[in-house]
Amino acid sequence: MAPAPRIELVCPAGSLPALKTAIDHGADTVYLGFKDATNARNFTGLNFDPPRLREGIAYAHARGRKVLLALNTFPQAANWADWTAAVDRAAEFGVDAVIMADAGLMAYAAKRHPKLRLHLSVQGSATSYEAINYYHERFGVRRAVLPRVLSLAQVENVISRTPVEIEVFGFGGLCVMVEGRCALSAYATGESPNCQGACSPGEWVRWEETPQGMETRLNGILIDRFTPGERTGYPTLCKGRFEVNGETYYAIEEPTSLNTLELLPEIARIGVRALKIEGRQRSPAYVAQVTKVWRAAIDSLQAGPERFKVAPAWMAELNKVSEGQSHTLGAYHRPWK
């Protein structure tokens, strides 16, 4: 049997230094966004203006690597033209693909820029081959990023029933909710990943030292409280501690990262085409560390799948940069559900 094609390592670039770092440490592909609400990491100080995007694309292409542009929020009737202008710019700058969630915007891109390669964003919430094939037949989508809800057996079934390449999340912050189907942040703050490109946005966050300990609030809503000496965390609202029937615990999800390193041989065997590292909001140092480990792991797998073993040093490196310094296999491992 012919060996499976090497899994493409897709790394986050929240800035030009992060982009260069990712490429220098072995990313096959980087993904990034414009400095506005057209992408789902619309945070102050992140992302690319046009000159930096040009420079980033030149840097990647000179080294034979690819650049994907995330245009993965949902345009509103009032700002539609901002999103189509972003699509036009992406085509003009020569990005290798755009990652999109909105069907109307995909129709625009397919019609106006037929040569522009389209990827279906995780924000498109396509969890079955029926949904993925809709985007393929309608707009010629070539790759889909799966929401973090399917077990590996379910991912394998999707791959066997679609001509669309499948990309999965391999590492990083874990959305426990179906991406594109979560209005928790909108409920608390009025700003959502779907429309404003931000979850639990910083301008709504308050850190307050109180007699009970450090408290974190989102628009006044208490998300967590930390005893002195306890490691504090950003108040992402699904990762707070709440009270349910008199019991206080992480009722939705612990602050933890997804880490699929030990599943890598299985991910490759079932035909996953690309593996995504989350973290455009993270520093270049994070990007360097994570990219290096995943590059080594993928190369090691490629060199001899039967001999592949997760090196303890890889795990140690990844745990250092994991949220809450712990990790999970998420939905890929059925008992997590």
């Binding site: 345009p75 539609w80 079955s128 399917l150 998300i223 709440f242």
Partner: protein
């Protein structure tokens, strides 16, 4: 303005569910959405049972729509989806793009675009209309102004339904938070949802009701209630959705009907509804604000 009863988002014992819809048959509602949209493990009523209810309600003069599951994961989920999209007796509410593909393939030309399809602009809505959608249920997070802008951008109008009453369905997950609360795995959840007719309230550590755990769905704790906003809904919606709750659903429907028929002022209707709500009201989303807020125009 038509009044619709949304799909039952909770999991009630079979006899209670049947008795509930028996009462709905004589309620002042025009349209009833039926089917399991949240969790494929819930089976007190099978698809055949839902279709049986659909026949009864249709015979009672209600428009009946079969709603599809919002989060599709397995081949067995797809099998049910194919059965719903393949039957021709009742309209279908499509709640993911897989359902849209199947309806389009079956050349069904009269379906409902459900609230989880993420329609935020007229371009996307027109694609769905070209595929056969004849009614659009707006996502609850869309404001009245944004909804009006979507409608204004359409070449031809579409009947629009607004989520007007009920705890807000805010998120779906692969994980079951009810099972997690009871330290159970989803695959062995013991169907604990059956024991809580309105889900389980999640409070902040200050005791403030914040969210509701409903299996794999997370809802608001507060009750989204647009009774006082009825004047602003005129011209923006043709159908109002009330979401079923454990107690007083009929009382709520009666209040909406009375307010729509101008037998009660909108503000009086809101005040009367306070006795029937499991938690305080909110309406922020409709006003373009955080959904948790109860906004009163100055």
């Amino acid at each position: 303005m038509k009044l619709a009863l949304g799909p039952l988002l909770y999991y009630w014992p079979r006899q209670e569910t049947l008795a509930f819809y028996n009462r709905i048959a004589t309620s002042p509602v025009d349209t009833v959405y039926l089917g399991e949209t949240v969790c494929s493990r819930r089976h007190e009523l099978r698809l055949d049972d839902w279709i049986g209810l659909a026949c009864d309600l249709a015979a009672a003069g209600k428009e009946v729509v079969l709603a599809t599951q919002s989060l599709i994961e397995s081949e067995s989920d797809l099998k049910t989806l194919r059965q719903i999209t393949g039957q021709g007796d009742f309209r279908v509410e499509a709640n993911d793009m897989g359902a849209v593909r199947l309806l389009e393939a079956n050349q069904v030309a009269d379906w409902v675009a459900g609230p989880t399809l993420n329609v935020f602009n007229p371009q996307t809505l027109e694609l769905l209309m070209a595929a056969g959608a004849r009614r659009w249920v707006a996502a609850p997070e869309i404001s009245g102004a944004d909804l009006a802008a979507v409608r204004a951008g359409l070449a031809a109008p579409i009947e629009t339904e607004v989520y007007a009453y009920g705890r807000l369905p805010l998120a779906f997950s692969a994980r079951c938070f009810t099972a997690r609360h009871f330290n159970l795995q989803k695959d062995a959840c013991e169907f604990r949802c059956l024991s809580v007719e309105d889900g389980i309230v999640l409070r902040t550590r200050e005791g403030e009701p914040f969210l509701t755990l409903n299996g794999i769905q997370t809802q608001s704790a507060r009750v989204h209630n647009l009774l006082a906003d009825l004047p602003g809904l005129a011209g923006r919606a043709e159908v109002l959705r009330v979401s079923p709750q454990g107690a007083h659903t009929l009382d709520i429907l009666t209040l909406f009907r009375a307010a729509l028929d101008a037998k009660l002022t909108p503000v009086a209707a809101l005040e009367a509804s306070r006795d029937y709500m499991p938690e305080a009201p909110c309406n922020g989303f409709w006003h373009g604000r955080p959904g948790v807020e109860q906004y009163v125009a100055a």
